[in-house]
Symmetry: C2
DNA sequence: GACATTAACGAACGGTCGTTCTATTGTTCG
DNA sequence: CGAACAATAGAACGACCGTTCGTTAATGTC
């Protein structure tokens, strides 16, 4: 790895940590440079614009998410076990105990959900992909028969996502210690009574 | 109402709209003044600091939330009907169709969940109060017998909140049109199979 | 209608923002 | 080793930030 790529990675690590605390907009090149003991222009040169920096940070965050959540979960056998693994790693990641800043994607989603542009586009696509991966894992649990064949997979994914979002919110803003347990409890209810398609009653 | 209070309200209206789009930190006094055709100092004088402005905006948002969600729902008879009314108004408010910016509280929660200070304190307390109101309404549905006596009220509230958060996320970032329906579907499942305390199995 | 009070303005402050240059250092490789 | 190049520093830019201040215009009161 060349010197340039090396420092670029170093910058991204610090930038990611800062963005978790201040958001992607709150992240400034000046304070980033100071935190790295580099010059502003030295940092800047690696990205060419703040927007590119923001996207690079999101990319870095996505890679770490894949490393800490998706890939470990793929080690679990397809089906229910894998879904459980996803939830476990996901919860651990999004409220990583002690670490400041929480999940960057959740913060960025709220920050950019109304600001059109490349950053929003990238985030949107990234989040869409993650949802697709999640749905795929859920679909497999239907195939293995661990979830009923009439399961509404998208609804299942929506509600799983909802539990993680609420966990993040309660834990971080309201300092509710049992937020993770609440999410797990909700998930068990989701398993016991999965949403089904087209229920005529 | 004195002249001062009058313009203050006018300012807050515009500030709230702007904060919904750019966030509470992204809201600047300069652009706010421009949008009001006022001088920066004229706007500033009403609040004394940006922090005070942010809190005032949150207060204004809370009042509107009470007007559009809580108070209308209190008109419904206590019990299940009221919970349904809360959800309906809540969903309508948080993703107010067409209007840009979405729910300020959700954005502010992500923005300030890691920034200690008066703004975070205020938001925290406000969100705590709202959750309490929600739990109270759910508790009443237990009292009326529309929800089973062993219902875990806090878990019910947590999951209801989760559905609204996910709805907001999917609708705004992922542009999922059916997000509101997903939230409603989730709510029906919540009613059909409410979470209960201490289930020994 | 004169007067005290409040509201709004306009100019300026020091600071930081993202960005652009030029110069100098450090690395890479024939 | 030395030439070609990549990486970083440093100074400066115009723009905008939140904030202060002194002054003017509008309002409310006796």
């Amino acid at each position: 790895m060349s010197k340039g790529e090396q420092t670029r990675q170093h910058i991204l690590g610090t930038a990611l940590a800062m963005a978790r605390e201040c958001g992607l907009e709150g992240l400034t090149i000046g304070s980033l440079a100071e935190g790295l003991s580099m010059s502003k222009s030295g940092v800047f040169a690696h990205f060419g614009s703040k927007e590119e920096l923001q996207i690079a940070v999101l990319k870095e965050a996505a890679e770490r998410f894949a490393d800490q959540v998706l890939r470990p979960a793929l080690a679990a056998p397809r089906g229910l076990a894998r879904i459980r693994a996803i939830l476990d790693h996901w919860l651990a990641y999004s409220v990583a105990s002690g670490l400041p800043g929480g999940c960057l994607f959740i913060a960025a989603a709220a920050e950019f959900d109304d600001k059109p542009g490349p950053v929003r586009d990238f985030l949107q696509q990234q989040q869409g992909q993650w949802r697709q991966s999640l749905l795929k894992a859920i679909g497999m649990a239907v195939e293995t028969g661990e979830l009923p064949p009439e399961t509404d997979v998208e609804q299942f994914g929506f509600e799983m996502f909802a539990l993680v979002l609420a966990c993040h919110h309660d834990q971080r803003l309201l300092s509710q210690r049992n937020a993770v347990d609440r999410a797990r409890t909700g998930f068990e209810r989701l398993l016991d009574h999965p949403p089904v398609h087209l229920s005529r009653h």
